[in-house]
């Protein structure tokens, strides 16, 4: 599935390879929408998800790189890193002291396992000109590796910097598949399976969203007033995210855009301005050329 070996292809095979992307295949019956709920309040930063993801999806290890900023040397999601654990060190926060006891202070470490958001209206999928990026029967966003031709439009469309072009092996766009292969067999994705604290939960989106609301309510009750949900309501990208988060600070702290705009919404205003310009330019041209003084 990952690397296409360059075997010798016979001519019937060659014809098949050329024709098959053009054929419509039967659509599998729809299933309930599946997604992730990543609860950062119980993440312990063990990176089991990162490793499990690489193992299951046969993704190469990252080049060793010392970030120098935290225990996070992965630094960002990439074409070959589909889960990424952030370590946010908040030392000397300006905040009312939570306790007068000497061993309680305001310093804290936030951990957050980032992943593709499987947006309900996925900008990457809307941008894709080949139709390589599809919604699966589980309502997840999936890049068909045999169709993608690596045009790179999804890379700049994604408002979360998730999807990337693999410049070393496949030269196609790659990202989290929500373990489509495992889902088809009814097994939970590798990262969720490996997570020891259940910070990553996998399930039906609607149930997970209810769970997330319950969890944030509980945290608020216990005085963690800064807890908030990210991507659960329908506001984000006009439809919410199928892979959403519980955060303990503003989204920007996690490098998450607070309210990204949906790139495809720009097509109409940008086209209107282009049409106005086209009219002005054509009229100028007609005016000067028909004016034979």
């Amino acid at each position: 599935m990952i690397v296409e070996t360059s075997q010798r292809t016979t001519s019937p095979e060659l014809v098949q390879n050329i024709v098959s992307p053009l054929l419509k295949q039967p659509v599998p019956p729809m299933q309930p929408a599946m997604g992730f709920f990543t609860d950062t309040s119980i993440c312990i930063g063990c990176k089991a998800c990162e490793v499990a993801c690489k193992q299951w999806n046969e993704l190469p290890a990252n080049e060793a790189h010392w970030s120098g900023t935290s225990y996070d040397n992965t630094r960002q999601l990439s074409a070959t890193t589909w889960r990424h654990v952030q370590f946010i060190e908040q030392i000397g926060r300006e905040r009312p002291q939570i306790s007068t006891l000497p061993f309680f202070n305001n310093d804290r470490w936030l951990m957050h396992s980032d992943v593709c958001k499987h947006c309900a209206n996925a900008p990457c999928q809307e941008a894709c000109p080949t139709g390589a990026i599809i919604r699966t029967e589980f309502d997840t966003v999936y890049v068909q590796q045999d169709i993608c031709n690596g045009c790179g439009y999804c890379v700049v469309a994604c408002p979360f910097g998730v999807i990337a072009r693999d410049e070393h092996a496949s030269h196609t766009a790659r990202k989290c598949t929500l373990c489509y292969d495992r889902m088809k067999d009814g097994i939970e994705p590798a990262c969720a399976k490996a997570c020891p604290t259940d910070s990553i939960q996998y399930g039906e989106v609607e149930q997970l969203k209810a769970l997330a609301r319950e969890r944030v309510g509980l945290l608020h009750e216990r005085g963690v007033s800064e807890a908030r949900l990210y991507g659960v309501d329908d506001n984000m990208l006009d439809g919410g995210l199928n892979s959403f988060f519980l955060l303990l600070d503003e989204p920007a702290v996690y490098n998450l855009p607070q309210n990204p705009s949906r790139p495809s919404n720009n097509v109409v205003p940008a086209s209107l301005w282009s049409i106005v310009t086209a009219l002005v330019l054509s009229l100028l041209g007609i005016f000067f050329f028909s004016n034979n003084k």
Binding site: P129, A164, S274, F288
Partner: protein
């Protein structure tokens, strides 16, 4: 006395970088506030977005695609509305349009991660994806440009005098001009719309990029056509028309760019600012300075002094400057887009509420 001398003294002491910086602040309406920006949260300043995978191929494609579209449009306008003398614009324009179109497909294909799969683009017709629309625009424009130019070549006797060729020459070229021009307008503007429909703050914030690229497509095409026409003997009236058209299109382009900068505000910094990663010095020098303002001033002068437009200088110079400016417009816009994608703070600011 002193009050008069003071501003002069300031102007004299400003380095080019400082002038660029002042222009940046003035045009974007945003004064960089490093302290405030440092207070904004990010994750160790790592980029929020992925950098575009588009490089020199796409810059040249934008340039040549613009020329192909603009030349076709001008040729059609000259053919449909111009005088008998203006036919030369139509002929030159159609030939140049096809010539400029030739490098486009190879550049686009080379730019892909998997060039051998370029035909996969044709599996889809997706109105909401400017990339998909663009592919179809290039395809259909190739048809119109190719056929129109073929008819032109047959009429000009370039294809010999076989019966088929004579038959070809009789085809109504002007019927093609209208749908062809519509597709040309699409080709000239979709590239800007494509950049607008992304998450990159610089490209997406103002929504004006489609119009700007189209205007630049036309201004560079006028420059290219008049450059060629000046090298051959061309009726004075026709050259004069092109000159006045160029003057007004350049003005429109400058106004468009200023509106773009103002509407983008802070997001336009990578394009106009002067920090080491920003592209302001190139932008102000080669795009706005020698690419737009200078040729426009020269054009104003030569129109005002009513010098015979047949004189090659400064006409040739104006053309060269405009072409250079058009190239640098696309280049700085693409490269500054890379810078913009790496700026976490501005990306997060851009995505607020």
């Amino acid at each position: 006395m002193q009050q008069i001398r003071l501003p002069q003294a300031i102007v004299e002491r400003l380095t080019p970088t400082q002038i660029a910086e002042q222009l940046a602040t003035l045009t974007t309406g945003y004064t960089p506030d490093p302290e405030q920006e440092l207070r904004e949260s990010t994750y160790y300043d790592l980029p929020v977005l992925k950098a575009p995978v588009w490089h020199w191929e796409i810059i040249w494609y934008f340039f040549f695609g613009g020329l192909a579209a603009g030349c076709y449009l001008l040729a059609s306008i000259a053919a449909l509305f111009g005088s008998r003398e203006d036919r030369i614009v139509a002929r030159t324009g159609y030939y140049l349009s096809l010539l400029a179109l030739l490098p486009c497909p190879p550049l686009l294909i080379k730019d892909l991660g998997r060039p051998e799969r370029f035909l996969h683009m044709l599996r889809m017709f997706k109105v909401r994806s400017p990339m998909s629309m663009g592919v179809w625009a290039v395809m259909s424009f190739s048809f119109f440009s190719g056929l129109t130019t073929l008819i032109q070549a047959a009429r000009d006797g370039l294809l010999g005098h076989a019966r088929g060729v004579r038959w070809l020459a009789l085809l109504p070229q002007s019927w093609l001009a209208l749908p062809g021009s519509a597709v040309a307008l699409l080709l000239g503007s979709y590239t800007g719309v494509l950049l607008t429909a992304t998450s990159i703050p610089l490209w997406s914030r103002s929504k004006l990029l489609g119009g700007i690229f189209l205007t630049s497509a036309v201004s560079t095409s006028i420059a290219l056509i008049s450059f060629v026409l000046r090298l051959v003997r061309t009726p004075l009236g026709t050259l004069h028309k092109l000159e006045r058209l160029e003057w007004s299109v350049l003005l429109l382009e400058m106004l468009g760019l200023l509106a773009f900068l103002r509407a983008s505000g802070r997001a336009a910094r990578p394009l106009v600012g002067t920090a080491p990663t920003e592209h302001g010095t190139t932008f102000w020098r080669f795009v706005f300075g020698t690419g737009l303002a200078l040729p426009w001033l020269l054009q104003t002068l030569s129109l005002l002094t009513k010098r015979s437009p047949q004189r090659r200088f400064p006409g040739l110079l104006i053309s060269l400057l405009v072409l250079l400016g058009g190239y640098f417009l696309r280049r700085t816009m693409v490269e500054a887009g890379h810078t913009s994608s790496q700026d976490a703070r501005t990306t997060l600011w851009n995505a607020q509420s």
